[in-house]
Symmetry: C2
Subunit: 233 residues, 2 copies
């Protein structure tokens, strides 16, 4: 270590001098986002969702790609208040979801209502045998609980496409589809197909997406759905 470096005072001491809790950091972040956000035409409730997506990525480009079907937010709020199961296409999303936030809406939320099958033995075996992604067999296995569920796709376009097929061919209707797979192969078209269907959705058009974005949508919906909701937090 050079002498110059050893004389630097670490930044964290300034934080200790005026500490912010996690919730205070969140409030401050939202203030900054509101101040810096470009003009947009989202409704106040939609903006609650988009703002949290900006918060999750540190990036205002999200505003250009966020899409809501009419009634998506009210359908999701109703489902959350009834404790609807939440299907996720990856364990990363499942582990990112806050049970505390979910329980602020419906006290009975627990790990059993967060459904992700990609690491199940039978799903992994099917994927190996068929040479197709595990997420596809994960969504197939979840089919019985998908009607009325909140379904969350932050990774796997093929799983979203299989849900699209179920919606088209089997009339399966989730309460909400969060359509945010990410990447360069099958991703754009999987979202476009979903957005052509008659189902409540919140989507991110284009190649971008990912687990934190998908999680942020659920957490924003929790704020909107919880009885003590506060538009500034």
């Amino acid at each position: 270590m050079t002498e110059a470096l050893s004389k630097k005072k670490p930044l964290i001491y300034a934080l200790y001098a005026s500490p912010l809790s996690g919730p205070e950091v969140e409030v401050e972040s939202f203030k900054i986002i509101d101040r810096e956000a470009p003009r947009h035409s989202f409704s106040p409730e939609e903006w609650q969702v988009v703002r949290r997506m900006v918060h999750a990525t540190g990036d205002f480009d999200i505003l250009e790609a966020a899409r809501f079907s009419p009634g998506a937010i009210s359908s999701a709020i109703t489902a959350l208040r009834e404790g609807a199961p939440i299907f996720t296409d990856s364990n990363m999303i499942r582990s990112g979801l806050s049970l505390a936030r979910l329980r602020s809406v419906f006290a009975g939320y627990d790990a059993h209502r967060l459904i992700c099958h990609v690491a199940d033995e039978d799903v992994m075996r099917q994927a190996r045998v068929k040479g197709l992604p595990r997420s596809l067999f994960g969504v197939c296995k979840a089919k019985p609980i998908l009607p009325g569920a909140i379904t969350v796709f932050g990774n796997a376009p093929i799983a979203l496409m299989e849900l699209n097929r179920m919606i088209l061919e089997e009339n399966i209707r989730p309460a909400l589809v969060i359509a945010m797979p990410v990447g360069f192969v099958h991703v754009v078209e999987s979202k476009r197909e979903l957005m052509s269907l008659e189902v409540p959705y919140i989507a991110l058009d284009g190649r971008r997406g990912g687990s934190p974005l998908a999680v942020s949508v659920i957490h924003a919906l929790c704020s909107l759905a919880s009885p003590g909701k506060n538009l500034s937090s």
Copy 2:
């Protein structure tokens, strides 16, 4: 459902007609990224890392913000080959890491070498008592294993700042710091401080970051470190 919709043929049938496995999708994605990437001055090994970050986000803007300290990649490769512990600032990162990829480098990698303390009882209690983020107490608890470890920050700037303090004041030297907290409060300065220190780092300058980006860096390093590594995969 309208008649028009019911006549649509779901896109997934085209996939079944010419299915791609997960690894094949990855190869195809990297081809698209290589073809579309703007000009850059990353070394071939650095590009392996940045390309996977683009893959994780669907976004080429990553190229403008990615930063490598000299020798960061070789330090990380050595550490991975020796089975160095991997500290993460969130369970979302921990659950996103692929043990299969890690084991392709060092066969002894298991869940015990992936360290995340934010959900530990004692850490949660300290955070409650002090009114400060759990991630701060998580990194403090991990201090004994940080020298020589791979440390991964995809969420919590305050935890990164505490590591910066340990580097400055206690001469603690991880084998690599992945500095990718995300957001609007304390984030930019936590990364700037880290990049001023004499420690191997891979960072994303600015507000952007997040768990999938941090995970993608580790997975790219696994490809570079594994004996059967292939520059095209």
